[in-house]
Symmetry: C2
């Protein structure tokens, strides 16, 4: 069941890669335009970091943005078409890799990295754990991790507040998007326990607000690898 859901996530991105690239580049995703893109950029200490790994980089907008500050960005994504789109627009070194192959980056340019960023890219259960389990080997001592994800408080308060797979939809996206995949909901306490289990201590949490409702558009965890 779990593996089936993880596979569905990968399939969805393959199927919707072109629509996604268009939506990001045309700026049609309101919450990203209004809040969350800038929020994750703001979370990166631009002046203090020179090498970043962007895990689940998609079509590469964040790498391009960070590279403007002189940061060397390595972007990885499991979807070929997204990596191809990222490579075409430059701003980083992009590679098509499944999340369980991250460790193979330990020897490349920029590694060990000062910072790993996962911007709305930890959508599964075992795949998220797989990423976190490999980060210690990819990051410098006291390396940082930034995760932007859905705010647990804002995810359907009708449902039990418990870890588990949830249905998603492409509501708000155009009709070219198909086959939404399930995603794995984690409570706040579950996120913290998971991060701690993999050697990270929480430095800060940000909760950027939607300008209209003043409710959180996302949550951003900023954590540091502890010895």
């Amino acid at each position: 069941m779990v593996d089936h859901n993880e596979r569905r996530i990968l399939n969805t991105w393959q199927r919707n890669a072109d629509s996604w690239t268009r939506a990001v580049r045309d700026g049609t995703i309101a919450s990203r335009q209004q809040v969350t893109d800038q929020a994750v950029v703001d979370a990166v200490p631009l002046c203090q970091v020179t090498s970043v790994i962007d895990i689940g980089c998609g079509e590469g907008w964040l790498a391009r943005r960070l590279s403007e500050s002189g940061i060397v960005v390595t972007g990885i994504d499991a979807t070929h078409a997204l990596v191809d789109a990222a490579t075409k627009n430059g701003g980083g070194h992009f590679q098509c890799l499944n999340y369980n192959e991250l460790h193979s980056l330990a020897a490349i340019c920029g590694a060990p990295f000062e910072l790993a960023v996962c911007n709305f890219s930890l959508l599964g259960e075992s795949s998220t754990e797989t990423v976190l389990a490999q980060l210690a080997a990819l990051l410098q001592p006291a390396g940082r991790l930034i995760i932007q994800t859905l705010h647990p408080a804002e995810c359907n308060s009708e449902l039990p507040y418990q870890d588990g797979w949830r249905q998603s939809s492409w509501d708000g996206f155009d009709s070219t998007f198909t086959d939404p995949a399930p995603w794995y909901f984690r409570t706040l306490s579950s996120w913290l326990t998971l991060l701690r289990h993999h050697g990270f201590s929480m430095q800060k949490i940000s909760e950027p607000l939607l300008p209209s409702s003043k409710r959180p558009a996302s949550i951003i965890f900023i954590a540091t690898l502890t010895p």
Copy 2:
């Protein structure tokens, strides 16, 4: 305005001390009975701690419970009638103190404490900061802090998700309760920033669930004083 609200909190407890003592001792507060009393006890590492300061101890139930495990508990509360009620039932050393007088406990039996517990007792703005500012002097090196409070995610999702004073009510309590005081809402990120500012790093967050709705009854921060 702020001082006015802090005063209203103190006045409310003075006015409702007897009703409160009765409600706690008769077990008529459902969320406490079902979830949050046991949750805060579970957060205390009973076998590893010998001295605890219970800040805002009220009529003393938590001190009594912890003392059953051989822990020496000092309870402080700003409301005379509650401290009197606590003293009568024993289980700890109780003292009537305002939150800004905490530092005077540095020399008493049990200090420096291994653990400070604030169980639904940080209700104000400046008064909460006052407590946290004095804890480093009261706790042992690497001393622990447990705060149980309202879950930011469950506090009226109609309102902006921003720090600020909010109205409360005695809904669900009997008609002897009067004059509900305002309380100071803090976002999750605000709690973390505040704790960090006062030298605490987050070890764990717990979110005990109401058995009926499976939604969080509270949030519990477990933090450690860092050098």
